[in-house]
């Protein structure tokens, strides 16, 4: 039977990639076309980071690499060799929630929750960047994270609350 995409995939050729994920150094064997997102979800079983559009349009896959927020769906795991990755699973300290996680709960900043890990990681990146001063700045600099439930007003409130507390 022909392959549904019209070509036969060659046998996977794997490469070693070392990532420090949420503080733990791990070496993975991945095919070169494995996105960082798939490496996190499928190889490391860290399914907190979500696959929404898989095209960099929705922000559900946002993680921090060396402290900066990126779309993990649009980078290859092999390109991030040697770097530190922080996902939603790495933000809390034990049972103590990260200030953004706490603020999202307190402000009811989600409904279905699917975009929330990406929203929170993106907000952590925004706080680290230190460019947002006003609610309009927050809205503009969070525009890469879509929320189809429309929790935007409370997402802005939650982020503003943490900004008011002096960051995270």
């Amino acid at each position: 039977m022909p392959h549904p995409m019209g070509f036969a995939p060659p046998p996977p050729e794997v490469m070693a990639v070392t990532l420090t994920v949420n503080g733990v150094e791990t070496t993975l064997q991945v095919a070169p076309w494995t996105s960082l997102l798939d490496a996190l979800r499928l190889h490391l079983d860290l399914t907190g980071t979500k696959k929404g559009c898989d095209h960099g349009q929705c922000g559900a896959c946002t993680v921090l690499v060396d402290g900066r927020r990126i779309n993990s769906c649009l980078t290859l795991a092999v390109m991030q060799d040697g770097r530190s990755v922080t996902t939603i699973e790495g933000l809390a300290s034990g049972d103590t929630l990260h200030p953004l996680q706490k603020a999202f709960v307190e402000n009811d900043a989600f409904q279905c929750g699917y975009c929330t890990p990406g929203q929170i990681c993106s907000a952590a990146g925004l706080l680290a960047e230190g460019k947002a001063k006003t609610d309009d700045d927050i809205r503009e600099l969070m525009s890469g994270n879509l929320c189809r439930c429309g929790a935007y007003p409370n997402i802005v409130k939650a982020i503003r609350q943490v900004m008011g507390e002096g960051g995270a």
Partner: protein, 330 residues
């Protein structure tokens, strides 16, 4: 995504060598456009050469008082650089008008120049597209063409270049520095991107074996009187329907120099030097701006869904020039 092999270049020479004689290899840096296109099966490189760790990520002063933007400097780092913000505010504004914070943290300046069109038919490998598959036809000409070109298009392609950054670079008369097997050369920004003609699969004048290493900004940054205006379907994180980079030098109410470039309207950032020349010597006021705007759109041609862009572009030009001049928008 189709299978491919991967290697990392440690020097510019390594990178150039890795591409030489390998037409199915491509550079990857930020990856934000290329990997997306590979997922869509619109681009099918057999080998990726990762250039993201080459030492081309700095922003440095040039001897003639300008700035050299490293090809691998991230869009975000470029936009927020204090020298860029104070001396080339139009460029900073243009970069921040594009993509999202996450993408700007990944995407590089060189990659921005080399990104492909967001034409739906280019992305959809089930439809004809002369850019993706030369000779297959143009799906957009008779299809849904709301986002397509009104200037400089051909019967073979009506795609637009999607960049914001490049529109500001066109207005600033930047220079692109490239290296290939025969050494280094420079390309004036106006000559870097091409019009489609009958070879729309070729976006730029960069050789297949060349790498962009830097973008040089001249000293003249029009910091006092310039702006970047972007008109789009939502307030943030959308491509331009029409965008305008407008820059003026004004003395005593009279325009002494003008730069005008448009995005979202053509296969390349659309700079109009004739319209710029019309503005010089004229009073910095709405009537002068309107005359220049009409001149820019004189050869514009709309298609079934995008004719609205012609009056929209005229108005956007008048508004951008008014904002740049600091006069009230009519």
């Amino acid at each position: 995504m189709r299978a491919f092999t991967y290697s990392r270049a440690d020097t510019v020479e390594d990178a150039v060598r890795a591409l030489a004689g390998n037409p199915d290899a491509r550079f990857v840096a930020g990856g934000t456009n290329l990997l997306d296109l590979m997922k869509a099966d619109a681009m099918r490189p057999a080998h990726l050469v990762d250039i993201s760790r080459l030492p081309l990520d700095r922003i440095e002063e040039t001897e003639d008082g300008g700035l050299r933007l490293g090809a691998l400097a991230r869009n975000a780092d470029t936009a927020w650089d204090e020298r860029v913000r104070s001396r080339y505010p139009m460029l900073s504004k243009a970069i921040l008008a594009g993509a999202s914070a996450q993408l700007r943290n990944m995407a590089t300046n060189g990659g921005n120049l080399l990104q492909r069109t967001r034409c739906y038919y280019f992305y959809d490998s089930g439809t004809p597209c002369n850019k993706r598959e030369p000779g297959s036809g143009c799906g957009a000409l008779t299809g849904v063409n709301r986002i397509h070109a009104i200037l400089g298009a051909s019967e073979h392609c009506i795609a637009v270049h999607p960049s914001d950054l490049c529109v500001a670079l066109a207005a600033l008369e930047a220079t692109v520095r490239v290296t290939g097997p025969r050494g280094e050369r420079t390309i004036p920004f106006a000559e870097f991107h091409r019009l489609p003609g009958d070879t729309p699969h070729i976006d730029t004048t960069l050789g297949a074996d060349e790498i962009v290493t830097a973008i040089d900004l001249p000293a003249r940054g029009f910091a006092e009187h310039s702006t970047y205006l972007k008109v789009r379907d939502r307030a943030s994180y959308a491509f331009a329907l029409v965008s305008v980079a407008a820059a003026l030098e004004i003395e005593g109410g009279t325009i002494r120099a003008a730069r005008l470039a448009l995005g979202g309207v053509a296969h390349k950032p659309w700079r109009d030097t004739e319209a710029e020349a019309m503005l010089v010597g004229k009073p910095a006021e709405a009537a002068s701006f309107a005359a220049a705007a009409q001149a820019v759109l004189r050869g514009a041609k709309g298609h079934a869904h995008n004719a609205f862009k012609i009056p929209l572009a005229e108005r956007a030009i008048v508004r951008a020039l008014s904002e740049a001049a600091g006069v009230q928008t009519p």
